[in-house]
Point group: C2
Chain length 177, copies 2
Amino acid sequence: MTVSKPAEKSAEKASEATKGRKEAPEGQSQGLAEALQLGELSEQLGYVLKRAQLKVFENFLRCMASLQLTPAQFSVLLLVEKNPGRNQTEIASTLGILRPNFVALLDNLESRDLCARIRSTNDRRSHILVLTDKGKAVLTRAKKLVATKHESRLNELLGQANREALLGMLSKIANEF
Amino acid sequence: MTVSKPAEKSAEKASEATKGRKEAPEGQSQGLAEALQLGELSEQLGYVLKRAQLKVFENFLRCMASLQLTPAQFSVLLLVEKNPGRNQTEIASTLGILRPNFVALLDNLESRDLCARIRSTNDRRSHILVLTDKGKAVLTRAKKLVATKHESRLNELLGQANREALLGMLSKIANEF
DNA sequence: TATTGTTATACTCTATAACTATA
DNA sequence: TATAGTTATAGAGTATAACAATA
């Protein structure tokens, strides 16, 4: 929790208010209020992490608008491509998605003909997941969009070395915290 | 999306499977499966960011279990303490919380006597937020728990210099991405 | 008996519209 | 008329239990 998508309008309003005058006589509130002090909040790992994550997801969605792929859907396509022959349970659990919640996600991808469930001949309980030709083509385009529009912004913002350092630290946190 | 709380059991199961043998003859699946290849996923900023954020929030909740404070509640207490005399709209929008969703959050804190709404005398529409004495005391304890149990783990994991670099990069992303 | 995929369901978080009381 | 707080509500995301088919 702590942080939600900065609520477009509120954010705008807030920043308008923020840029107002500097010293409203504080007696009777008349004009625009002053900006609030974040204080220790800006040093809280969780707070900053969450706000950064929301920004990154928003940007991802904008970059992928033409392909209509969410981060979750993109991660599934990537993982299925890299691991052909795996079933739903394996793909879902690797992504930290619970099997029941994975069903609707897959239904969506399958209805768009991006991937397919294939009944396994070895174990007729399980569904092997594969990308369709269309799924492969879309994934290829998605990767290009992500690389050129999304991840590239990180390099602009932080520089190549810092970008790698950031990913390394985040991975360490994800795996060892 | 992409990543949910690694679903305790699934995660355990997955890691068991992961540590299995190394080369299951791949013909008829017999024993434990091999670990999946994350591939490009581990280089995706959003994916790593989300997983790190979930881990950090989980750890935060464990550290604050004795005080029963969520990251969102903690952030509200911090912000109200740092900005006395502000109303609900100002506190909520600064945190990226929509006003309607802030009501229940505040109801909770107020019912626990951690903060209070005070009708403003200047503008009788607005509620000034203040910490109660109990709220101040709890916040003080919360800060200590966060510092000694939560944020300190970051220093152990990354070192002081890297921790600061990480926060700096995340802030930059949150503000400029 | 155990597992795979699935359904049903519930709870949290986020988002929008509209009401009320003030201004 | 506009704004602050609120209510109602809807939609994602996440979580658990239980069922049918299969092992």
